[in-house]
């Protein structure tokens, strides 16, 4: 059974043919993916979906997970926060533990494949072992926002990064000047997953009924966890400005930010801001609510993503893939997903968001046009098949230094 054939109807036969032709150049290529976890988190989710597609394309892809105890992952969490620019108390022994766990894994892993593809900082020190198999090419895939890293952690990691043949980032803002090839590969959504697949109208209605959201008025929705950086209070303020002249409902849907000590405080602030407005619905969704999120996005007249900061903000692509008109902040990867006034509206403030939501609610044909353009943009740039093609191109580019690579 072909998995790729299922994507053909969505991205077109020429795209799949090109993907197969590209993979043909890498037939049998041995690739080792290394990450720090097999379940949970975006990296594991994407690798779980990609691995069988790589196999179908004829690459010999294996995926190993490094071992590290609780104390190691506490350290890497602190590093992660520091790389995101947050304050984190970093002590010298944390660096030592990081190196020690890396060395222990180095001894256990074969690291003898043609391409070693290391995801994120946790396994980064494995590159020290590259001399063992000099023919292997090493790629570092950075999934995190490195635009404002705390220098102490960044300077510690930098010498390791420099040992790779190529580095891959999600956004140009995360890239520092370095001598190796630095490739841009945006993350992607899977159009066949429960969160994004087509849903019949009856299923959408049933989900909304179950969530107790009447469909009598246009629905404005933001899907994201209750976190200050997602600005849920700002969304409520924008909605109130809209409500002065346009009738609509507001739905804020998301899970609690469990790893965020401020999560509870934010939620109670949001509850307070929502007050007893019967047209505002706060939904605390448990994990694995993918079909619910899908239905909610599809039932929305406008989808908002009014974040103050974003890593990439793939919820925008999720909404655009459903041809929904989007109002989103111009932060992180959002401007890559939305071209202002072509495929959605980019905003910088509560007032701007309110104005944009009103424009879309009052001009359904304009809103429809933006949503349709957005869907086409996602079709070309933010689906899993494009992500696969970019990785294949990255593998091919390892053997060249030129800007034009001609494969005869």
């Amino acid at each position: 059974m072909s998995l790729l054939a299922d994507y053909e109807a969505l991205v077109g036969s020429s795209t799949i043919a090109e993907l197969r032709a590209l993979a043909g150049r890498l037939a049998g290529k041995q690739v080792l993916m290394i990450s720090s976890t097999r379940a949970g988190g975006g990296v594991a989710e994407i690798l779980n979906r990609m691995a069988p597609l790589f196999q179908e394309l004829g690459l010999d892809v294996r995926w190993d997970v490094m071992e590290g105890g609780l104390s190691f992952f506490k350290v890497t969490k602190k590093f992660h926060n520091a790389l995101h620019g947050q304050r984190a108390a970093i002590r010298q022994e944390m660096f030592e533990l990081f190196l020690q766990v890396g060395r222990a894994n180095m001894h256990k892993m074969a690291l003898d494949r043609e391409i070693i593809f290391v995801h994120d900082p946790q396994p980064i020190t494995l590159v020290e072992a590259r001399g063992r198999h000099p023919a292997s090419r090493w790629i570092w895939r950075c999934h995190i926002d490195l635009s404002r890293p705390k220098q102490r952690v960044w300077e510690f990691l930098r010498p390791f990064i420099l040992k790779f043949d190529a580095a891959v980032y999600s956004h140009p803002a995360f890239v520092q000047q370095m001598p190796m090839r630095q490739v841009l590969v945006a993350p992607s959504i899977d159009p066949l997953s429960d969160k994004n697949r087509e849903l019949p109208m009856e299923e959408i209605r049933a989900v909304l009924a179950r969530l107790e959201i009447p469909q009598d008025l246009p629905i404005v929705t933001q899907v994201s966890r209750f976190d200050r950086l997602k600005d849920p209070i700002g969304v409520i303020e924008a909605y109130r400005k809209v409500r002065r002249t346009v009738k609509c409902r507001l739905v804020l849907a998301g899970g609690p930010a469990t790893d965020d000590p401020e999560g509870e405080a934010v939620l109670s602030e949001v509850r307070e801001a929502a007050g007893n407005d019967p047209l505002i619905r706060l939904l605390m969704l448990p994990p694995n609510s993918d079909v619910e999120i899908n239905a909610l996005q599809r039932a929305s007249a406008v989808v908002v993503q009014k974040s103050l900061r974003e890593g990439f903000g793939l919820t925008v692509s999720e909404a655009l893939w459903k041809a929904r008109p989007v109002v989103a902040s111009a932060v992180g990867g959002i401007p890559l997903q939305v071209k202002h006034r072509y495929s959605g509206l980019l905003v910088h403030s509560v007032e701007g968001a309110a104005f944009a939501i009103k424009q879309l609610l009052n001009n359904p044909s304009y809103a429809k046009h933006l949503g349709e353009n957005g869907k086409e943009h996602v079709r070309g740039h933010f689906l899993l098949t494009r992500h696969l093609a970019d990785y294949l191109l990255t593998f091919i580019s390892l053997d060249y230094t030129t800007d034009t690579i001609v494969l005869n």
């Binding site: 590209l22 140009p172 803002a173 630095q182 841009l184 071209k339 353009n373 494969l407």
Partner: protein, 232 residues
Amino acid sequence: MEPEQASRMTAVEPAQAIKPFRFSTSLVLQEATGLRAARLSVLAQILRTVPDSCIYHHTHYFLLSHHYLTPEPSNDFAYWIGEVLGEEALGERLASLDIIEYTDLGTLRQRLVDVIEDYLKRTPAARFKFASEGEEFFFVKSVHVVMPTAYTAATLEEFADALERVSVRSLYFHVFDAPLRLGRRTNDFSLWLEQLGYPELAREIAALDPYSYTLEMLRSSMLSLVRQTLSR
């Protein structure tokens, strides 16, 4: 197999091509440079030194990435200057550059720098416009991986059939990449059609301004010219 630089053709009667036209496709890998600009003077300064593939990326990649949009957004420089810095007059000037008139990327680069610097001289206040963090102009370059496709044509009929089926990336390669990146004197289709004995059709296709069409509209316009020739 790409068409050779066409020799002077005198034949006007359709003939069997010596070399069939092989459609290629080009897949683009985006490479970051780590360079960024938050204001116009820095943009102009960096523009002078970045590789040609960077100039090409920011003046052409949008055509491929937004090929479904009518009207198409403008090139990356014009879009950023107009939408992010809010210097709409300069954005408009850069959006209206007739890129088809530039046969090499060095001249295009110089023109972009000149237009920005001329504007800065006449509009000194524009020097003080800053993009906020995260909205800077990030310089990216294109790495093109060119591969043959399964489509070939030995006659005009076969050419029409294949042109209808190839991906927009293939169309983009033969129309934009071939003249500007690979230094051919015009698009690949016109070069081959000349050899095939259709100089007028070759001229008509070369005369289309590909920058003012979406790729699908360009495909339809070319197809209708080819079909008119076939029906004569």
